[in-house]
Amino acid sequence: MTRIRFHRQLDDLKERLLVMAGMAEQAIQRAVEAYRVRDLSLCDLVARSEASINSFEREIDQMALDLLAMEQPMAIDLRFILAVIKINADLERVGDQAVSISERVRDLHALPAVELPVDIPRMAALASSMVRRALQGFIEADAEVAQSVLAMDDSVDKLNDAAFFSLSAMIQEQPLYAPQALHALLIARNLERVGDHATNVAEDVIFWVRGADVRHHLSA
């Protein structure tokens, strides 16, 4: 009764999701680099990658749906497919955050350059490392690695809070630059959301590997 073909299909599903994950991660890096060097050509690349990410999302959902319908998976295989469906949605949203950041970069580019009291590249590095770590947990089926992502989310949240206070103060003190500060605030918010999506991915990896639901700070 060994189901060799089915398990190959699960491997294919995992591989497709990882390709998509790579694209989503690259989109965030490009969007943040576009912010850092004010390069609109990178924004174009992000916009173009969105269509591919969306296409991957549909393909992966269809593959997962077919496997559920045709193979009626059980136990760890069932949890894997459920996790893939949820991770797929989170990665697509990561791609959306990248698009949103690149749109803010375009708006910022149209305004006079100004020193902003927020370290966007640092936030981005932290959020991206969360995504990478969550995916490492997924690749290696390692719940411990995934667990470590959950603790990192607080750091991103704190950076976002700090950005809120410093940029709010700037808006009050230098209202002339309020549009630039607001755009930076929204970019910080986008990166905080990327951290949230990475946390969701990590929780789904833990669910797949351990069968434990750790969402909303539940310890199972």
Partner: protein, 252 residues
């Protein structure tokens, strides 16, 4: 009403082949319990020990105890008494081919000495209704033989025959494996309804079927009970790696 089953240190042999080893298990009353495992793992032998059928094999031997309710079936009752209290349905429907539908259902009662026509009529109708077959056969009860029915109807006839003697436990050894999907669905619906009145133990190779009909599931491997738990737990997050490997098709 159904009664619980308590199995302690159950061992069974076919000649020198030790087919069941130290089985300990509590099967709750009025629940459906599924037994799964690869061919030759001992699950069918196990259910045959629950109504003393295993010992009908010349080389079959059993040690340990099985309590049906409060009754130790190996020390406190005869095999005939046990088989009245513990009905059994097999993989292939086995109606008595020359008997009418009515006589098939009434056969167990007649063997137990019932002759009153009114009582027999009542029990036959009630049993066929319980087996969800009454509406399909009520006009042909004495005209048609059991063998003239479709495979799915024959299996429900066998269930009605088992129910007619008012058992407390129903054992089902792959009851739907020879049936088409529609007949299978009817049998599964029936199991779902019957468990309010009987304790049901079902052996199945169809894990989706186990997941659909049973509250609890036991996994057998090489004559041992590897894991017994709530069905939803077994099929989503089993404790034992061997259970997981089996139900995900990584061996078997």
């Amino acid at each position: 009403m159904g009664v619980g089953i308590e199995v302690s240190e159950l061992n069974a042999w076919y000649g020198s082949n030790h087919t069941l080893q130290n089985i300990n298990l509590r099967i709750p009353a009025n629940h459906a319990t599924a037994l799964i495992g690869p061919s030759g793992c001992g699950k069918s032998t196990f259910v045959r020990c629950l109504n003393r059928m295993h010992e009908t094999n010349p080389v079959g031997r059993v040690t340990g105890s099985v309590l049906i309710g409060q009754l130790d079936i190996y020390t406190q009752a005869s095999p005939v008494e046990i088989r009245r209290r513990v009905g059994m349905v097999f993989q292939r429907p086995n109606p008595f081919p020359t008997m009418s539908i009515y006589d098939n259902v009434a056969s167990g009662l007649r063997l137990n000495g019932y002759r009153n026509r009114v009582v027999l009529d009542e029990v036959v109708q009630r049993s066929l209704e319980q087996a969800a077959l009454w509406e399909e056969v009520k006009d042909d009860l004495k005209k048609k033989s059991g063998a003239s029915l479709s495979g799915g109807q024959q299996q429900r006839l066998c269930i009605a025959r088992a129910l007619a003697v008012d058992p407390e436990v129903m054992l089902m050894d792959e009851p739907a494996s020879a049936l088409d999907p529609v007949s299978t669905a009817k049998i599964e619906d029936l199991i779902f309804q019957l468990k309010s009145q009987y304790t049901i133990v079902i052996v199945t190779h169809n894990m989706q079927q186990a997941a659909r009909v049973a509250e609890n599931t036991g996994f057998f491997l090489n004559g041992r009970l590897v894991e017994f738990d709530a069905t939803h737990k077994i099929f989503t997050n089993p404790r034992d790696k061997r259970t997981e490997d089996y139900i995900t098709g990584r061996f078997g």
